[in-house]
Symmetry: C2
Subunit: 502 residues, 2 copies
């Protein structure tokens, strides 16, 4: 039974005890009965504590969410820490995301000191920015100290300069240094992704010395999977997996069992590159080094999973002209962010309309053209979008580059031709069935083939071209593509009609 079953009853005991203090003189209550009552109440409280477990094992359920919202609405704030405590920080972050903005602040205030700093690491970026803006300096400092260095740098980077200055002054020296150094790295780089906390041993140590070190040193990272071996210049020379350390005997030198063929990541490397590296080689951790090869930190695969998620989401969003803060942004922010891409598309549509406008006289004479013309344009757009999607994805995964681009372009053009012919037949058939006019039928057939071939070409050349000019293909390709397929579609169809029907 979850605590949300009986939130009211958890408060009730006090009320019941209070009721017994009436003004009228009641029959003398025996001490025995009072003691029994107290025991019963204590048992009930103990049972409630059992129902609200201590370990963060539990997930978010609709009933718990409803209970939390009820508590917020009825301003029964003391119960909130107890309701939240059994949740893993990731689930607490989920619940916070689902609340309305004002409710979030109330909840966090109600949680007080029980608010686990890690929640901030799991929180959606837009929601976190909002919250961080409202947190007091004391809380911020406490959180920054508690978070892993990569999450702390993330959080810290979102504060404005004044706040950053004040908080730096309040932090312990080590945290302050890590934060300042972290911010020196470009955003979205390996330097920002890495954790500074890691286990490092000198190359001349033995397995025995290492194990003794691990057993006695105090502030080891909570979880680590590899130990890094460095030379006297603090440059990484080997990676030692714990599974290999454990298997070796004590006198063996660390340098004899360490892996020398590990992959190093330069601190300035873009996080997308890092993610690609991890995926390509199935890495679990990789050391991060400075320009002069000194070991700075480590990136672990769970951080990379976050990056992969982010990047996949970004690609999807960018293809539709969306920004990252769309889902949680305010009405105004969301509207504003979507506007520019829609304007680009409006210009595309107007360009297509200008082409149609060139053939007003033709349409006036053969109105069937107005009815059929959107078909050619839209099929071009659809086929082109297919090619574009494959191209953008393949470019991102490095499956296509200048060397095999020709092969890809040729293939897409041929696919466009084949499907173009197929759809030319279909649509010619449809227009004969509809208008009974064979001339329109072959005109629309030819226009269809033309447009689908052009769509295949455009769907490859546009992203490849943008990539060549170092512009992210995902962002602009879609708009350029529809411009091309619309213009070519209308022009081919109406142009052929003007030439042959009038």
């Amino acid at each position: 039974m979850t605590p949300s079953n009986r939130p009211d009853e958890t408060d009730a005991p006090e009320a019941e005890v209070g009721e017994q203090q009436g003004t009228k003189r009641k029959p003398k209550v025996k001490k025995r009965e009072l003691k029994a009552k107290i025991r019963a109440l204590e048992a009930e409280i103990a049972e409630t504590r059992e129902n609200v477990p201590d370990e963060p094992l539990y997930g978010l359920t609709p009933r718990l969410e409803a209970a939390v919202m009820r508590a917020l609405e009825q301003e029964r704030l003391p119960i909130i820490p107890r309701l939240m405590r059994p949740l893993h920080p990731a689930d607490q972050a989920d619940l916070i995301e689902r609340l309305a903005p004002e409710q979030r602040l109330t909840l966090i205030a109600a949680m007080g000191a029980t608010f686990d700093a890690d929640i901030l690491a799991y929180l959606d970026a837009t929601v976190r920015d909002e919250l961080v803006g409202t947190l007091g300096e004391e809380d911020l400092t406490r959180f920054l100290s508690a978070l892993d260095s990569d999450d702390a740098v993330d959080l810290f980077g979102e504060l404005d300069e004044e706040e950053q200055a004040r908080i730096l002054a309040a932090l312990p020296a080590k945290d302050r240094i890590f934060l300042e150094e972290g911010l020196n790295f470009p955003e979205d780089s390996a330097g920002r992704l890495m954790q500074r906390e890691m286990v490092v041993v000198p190359s001349h140590w033995t397995v025995g010395q290492t194990i003794d070190f691990l057993r006695t040193v105090r502030n080891l990272p909570d979880d680590f999977y590899d130990i890094f071996v460095v030379d006297p210049g603090h440059r990484p020379v080997g990676e030692l997996a714990l599974s290999h350390l454990l298997r070796a005997k004590r006198p063996v030198r660390v340098s004899d069992i360490m892996r020398k063929d590990f992959r190093k990541v330069r601190a300035e490397m873009d996080q997308e590159e890092v993610a690609l590296l991890f995926r390509q080689y199935g890495l679990v951790a990789a050391p991060v080094v400075s320009e002069d090869d000194r070991l700075l930190g480590v990136i672990t695969v769970d951080d990379v999973v976050d990056v992969i998620d982010e990047e996949a989401e970004e690609d999807l969003m960018r293809l539709a002209g969306l920004g990252e803060s769309d889902l949680y942004g305010s009405l105004w922010d969301t509207t504003k962010t979507r506007f520019p891409w829609l304007v680009m598309n409006l210009l595309t549509a107007i360009a297509a309309s200008l082409v149609i406008g060139m053939f007003e006289a033709t349409i006036e004479k053969v109105v069937a053209l107005a009815v059929l013309m959107p078909i050619v344009a839209s099929m071009g757009g659809n086929a082109g979008t297919q090619t574009l999607t494959v191209a953008v994805r393949a470019l991102a995964m490095r499956d296509i580059d200048t060397r095999n681009a020709m092969k890809f372009i040729a293939k897409e053009t041929l696919v466009g031709s084949l499907n173009g012919i197929a759809f030319a037949v279909l649509v010619a058939g449809a227009s004969i069935a509809w208008f009974g006019d064979f001339e329109i039928a072959w005109i629309i057939a030819v226009a269809m083939v033309l447009n689908l071939v052009v769509a295949g070409l455009a769907g490859t050349l546009i992203p490849l071209g943008l990539q060549r000019f170092k512009i992210d293909p995902a962002v602009a390709s879609g708009v350029f593509l529809t411009t091309v397929t619309d213009v070519v579609g209308f022009f081919a169809f109406l142009g052929l009609a003007t030439l042959f029907l009038l």
Copy 2:
């Protein structure tokens, strides 16, 4: 220096020695000189060996790729294993993907016994299917034994029944059992994703016993990060990270330091769910259990990274009606796979044309309508696509469900209204500037607002509705959406024009 710098010279020594065996009587070559020559050649071979390291440290470069292709074209096959050896299996897989189909077979034959089974695990699925179809039984059996159990099950599942039966007969017992059991799990489930090789200790053991076990047992997995603690019924009761094992003293009981709050994965769980779990809680490994809670295997985060990649790619591809084998599929397969979605879109376009057809008379009278009408329809499609993209992504990440759907639908409808009004103004202005007609201007303005509001509604209701009927929103939403926005766009614009302009 990479071997590709001097492929010809590596062959040369034999030729040079042979040349000295001429038919003409040459001056007597001194033994001294011959020995010196031999020493020089041996030194060169040693230097070559140094420069061609045994460890797979190197990445794929254009020059290496060219060298391999040259070797294939000139049929200098013995040199190929040497060229390939310094590459990591993932990079060897990349190179194989970039070759033409016939070249792939030649290369693999040339590599013979040096062909690392792991390459198959890194290979694109389409290419792998192709190759596996051509491999002999002996090779297949060898590879299946060498691969990790999850990769082996993958590969095995792609063979036809006859081949599977023959190979099962040829495999060692343990491999055979793992394969058969693996296939009992549904495709794309945790049971297929897991590795059977793991380290398991009984709950009554001590740290000392565990470490001794790790030092003496022979066939440990190459890399592992956690040890699983089981009860006598082989049910997992705890997870013990190596970092914690190392820190404890020998007499400590494993059950005292193990983590009890680990997350178990049921073997039937879908791999998408597993990936979501790993991402949500930042897991590195999770034990997989059977229905009766027995420990079957472990899923590690690098497998999940592959799943995340796959799923992200699938979503992107499905939104454009593409199948997974698009990039590497043959011309015919690719054309065939894209056809159905294009047909769906053709039907959409025809439906929109039918709507336009209802207003032929109106268009005949006011041709400007034919010029402007695509603008309204396409803006609806674009705005609706934005909403749809956010909705599909949010549904996949579980950020939206039936509880907060209303909030999302309301927000999108409002965003649609706001942008609708903005674009109504813009497009009315454009049509006044173009045609100087105020009546058309307000008609197109009203149609624009209407279509963008409908786009916002459709962009949310369609994916939510499909989800409710257990249909993947990513697949069908796009087509339904454009049907709605095209039909509503044309109908609103032309309908209002018919009502008010004639």
